[in-house]
Symmetry: C2
Subunit: 354 residues, 2 copies
Amino acid sequence: MHVIAAVRDEEGPQFLDIPKPDPGPDEALVRTLRVGIDGTDHEVLDGNHGDFPEGEDYQILGHEAVGIVEDPNRTRFEVGDLVVPTVRRPPDETNEYFERNEPDMAADGDYLERGIVGAHGFMATYFTSPERFLVGIPDEFADYGFLIEPISNSEKAFEHAQATRSAFEWNPKSALVLGNGPLGLLTLAMLDRKGFDRMYCLGRRDRPDLTIDVIECLGATYVDSRETPVSEIAAAHEAMDFVYEATGYAPHAFDTVRALAPNGVGALLGIPDDWTFQINGGQLHREIVLENKALFGSVNSNVRHFKAAKESLAAFPDWFTDELITGIYSPEEVEKAFERDDDVIKTVVEFDTP
Amino acid sequence: MHVIAAVRDEEGPQFLDIPKPDPGPDEALVRTLRVGIDGTDHEVLDGNHGDFPEGEDYQILGHEAVGIVEDPNRTRFEVGDLVVPTVRRPPDETNEYFERNEPDMAADGDYLERGIVGAHGFMATYFTSPERFLVGIPDEFADYGFLIEPISNSEKAFEHAQATRSAFEWNPKSALVLGNGPLGLLTLAMLDRKGFDRMYCLGRRDRPDLTIDVIECLGATYVDSRETPVSEIAAAHEAMDFVYEATGYAPHAFDTVRALAPNGVGALLGIPDDWTFQINGGQLHREIVLENKALFGSVNSNVRHFKAAKESLAAFPDWFTDELITGIYSPEEVEKAFERDDDVIKTVVEFDTP
């Protein structure tokens, strides 16, 4: 079968032919339809994130997939069921996090991640998966079901944000998304259904720009970080009840405190490299305390968040998914699929159609 | 009646005689027994925190009080009831935070604080208070009931910490308190009842030391910050599920991230001045995200937290309160009551006895 992989000592995504996998006990065989590409795939390719499966010289890429069950193999699925796989898998042995269906809370070493950390991903004609890591989705999601994984990360972040503020009555009205990449835009569309009156999205692009169009069509305000730094957004626009950071730009994590309204909460999702810089730590510390602010990190997601993401995806307007997906490529065209440009929002590799 | 006040252009606490207050509608008149002194009182005295009541040249100090109802004045209380007052009061008009009994979540401008922000405190022979800001306590709390206010701040912090981690199964086992001042020690005693297996408390004192004795008698481990900085505690001892910061030393707010275990949460309560310094913001941001860590600020407390603090105080061992209170002074001895020394943990001004 065809796979797209990171290969040791090779640059860029490689197109390989390897044998079709055999499903193990409790595993279904899935025929892949589409696999989305995100920033993490680029980092894996560049060797900056995750690691290859033990003892192997390549890693199949891809962690945002949708496929069709080809061989249920005594799982609860039937031939033809549309499914989306979750990303984390137990290492050699299972552990408490997987036992209670919270692999997203497992610490480093307590999980593998398909396509990222020590396990093969889904950019292949077929993949296998234990049934508990497959989420059934309606047939009409064949084209865009691969978006459920990235949306699920934001569902988790928002769930945790609400939990963080659950000791008092919190009625968030304003939300700011830092980052106009695909995850930022998906999050903006997701937040559109969470009851916010006013939404903002930060980027650093000149008009005319595809992402600014999407932001404005979602009814949100575009904030150009070159004109209005995160630390000045509260003064220039308004203080935010919720900030979602998806830039991986470390100063944003700290400037988020300044952007928050009293009792606000910031969710951090970016994964920056080491970077030492100055902050007014006294001011930040004081503001966090006197204004009851909160900041938390969020990584990965679990089946509950995939199910919430299904609901969000179902409610997205058609124009949004159409605008978001700027390229659909065959496995043979993989290099194009990985190209990055201002005209590219999100691309997808299509292995098959339903 | 006697009051102890900060007076404009005067240094140190002043002993004044002013008329006894008349309770307004819905207010009870309370005869003060004891009022505790904490760091905030020193900051108010030094002009570094809060402000005087509008149009006045003095502010009665004190926000940690216990007293006896002298005139219930048609409130639900009876003559002789032991009560503790909460600290926040509405400004000219009430607002949503007070309406829903969450004044601790009100933003700057939406509250006054008795003894701190724009309102007279409780260091007076008598004080008046609306009944909704008085919490009834059992008679046996006459001596130590003034500790309920500081404990309530930690009850709020712990309640918010649990809320922050309520979207997943969190079983915290290790706790670290930053700061061996009275609030740090009270928090350590409070946490002793919250199910932690191992507790640590950070200070910068040489042995023999009263606070180290208290820490060890509570079964906690003393960590000397001069030997083990906060950023190295995880390596030297263990990573912490819960960190409570009560130092007001701004680098601690950021080093807390390093001290936390995966899925851990840090509560910040200190109120530092501006201070610019360097951090490895990339590393902190990345650790917060990849390890699902959280950080939040907590200030003040509401009636629910006062009630929780009653339970905590009732469970404190007698030796603890005896060791903690290192001085009981009459109003005339107020200068001594405000002296700070390594032999002083917490002092109290006694206006009357039951």
